[in-house]
């Protein structure tokens, strides 16, 4: 498993963090205060969760003046897709070998092989 997918799963393995991601996916970029508002969470805890999501490559942040704004990173969510692509590629190359093995061992020759 690619390391990046591992971090995506870890980042999402928390209900607060999933809710924050949902909020950012649905309503677009938000400040830490806005993201903390729906929860009974202090700003330090909120910041900790947001850092995990940022380190996991799921969100990104920019600072303007004293306000840090968080937003979704599309490529972070794409790493889920890349594992599947790798898995399907693995199968396809196996089937390439299957077709080659069948061509190399035709029907009339493989009986009693």
């Amino acid at each position: 498993m690619p390391a990046e997918l591992d971090t995506v799963f870890q980042a999402l393995a928390d209900p607060y963090r999933r809710a924050m991601v949902s909020r950012l996916v649905e309503a677009g970029p938000a400040s830490m205060k806005e993201l903390a508002a729906p929860f009974d969470l202090g700003l330090p805890s909120t910041l900790k969760h947001l850092k995990v999501l940022e380190n996991g490559g799921i969100i990104t942040s920019t600072k303007e003046g004293r306000v840090r704004t968080f937003s979704i990173r599309q490529d972070g969510l794409n790493s889920l897709r890349s594992w599947l692509d790798a898995h399907q590629l693995h199968l396809e190359t196996g089937f390439d070998r299957l077709a080659a093995a069948m061509a190399a061992n035709p029907e009339n020759m493989s009986d009693g092989d």
Binding site: F9, S22, L80, R81, H87, M102, P106
Partner: protein, 157 residues
């Protein structure tokens, strides 16, 4: 619509040289299957079992060059020669669950060869202890996130 991003279903079609009966042999006969299914010549075989029948298991445990073990555990659920194989399989890396799948392989005549249809429903586990993959499916408000992720995946593919 809530789609769990850890679940995925896909179909791969492949035209093969030879009749369905011949193609089927490359799944049922361990010697013929090994011609194509093993793909890591530099990996060390630790355990290898074949038992191609409904209720039987194929099991392989291989160590990669860094010593990490990779397990594939196949359970054959239904076999109808030469047209259908249904099996489930689990992959584990370093003893940790990576994925669990249900697979249907169908063979039918196609021109002078066969058409093989491989259909897999894959559950991607988290590669650590399995707990967080289960948790991911049960969080508050996660359905909307799942739908959003699914949409972003469709949009980006």
């Amino acid at each position: 619509m809530a789609i769990d991003p850890t679940h995925s279903r896909f179909t791969l079609d492949r035209v093969l040289p030879g009749s369905p009966a011949h193609a089927f042999r490359f799944w049922s006969d361990p010697k013929l299957k090994n011609l194509w299914s093993g793909c890591h010549p530099d990996w060390t075989e630790r355990e290898l079992r074949h038992d191609f029948r409904a209720g039987g298991h194929d099991f392989s445990r291989l160590a990669d060059p860094s010593g990490v073990e990779h397990e594939v555990d196949i359970a054959y659920l239904d076999i109808a020669a030469p047209t259908r194989v249904v099996y489930s399989y689990a992959m584990r890396v370093d003893g940790k669950p990576l994925s669990a799948s249900l697979v249907t392989v169908l063979f039918r005549p196609h021109n002078r060869g066969s058409l093989m249809r491989y259909d897999e429903h894959l559950l991607l586990l988290d590669g650590s202890d399995g707990a967080s993959a289960r948790e991911i499916g049960t969080g508050h408000g996660f359905d909307r996130l799942e739908a959003a992720i699914a949409e972003s995946l469709v949009a980006s593919s």
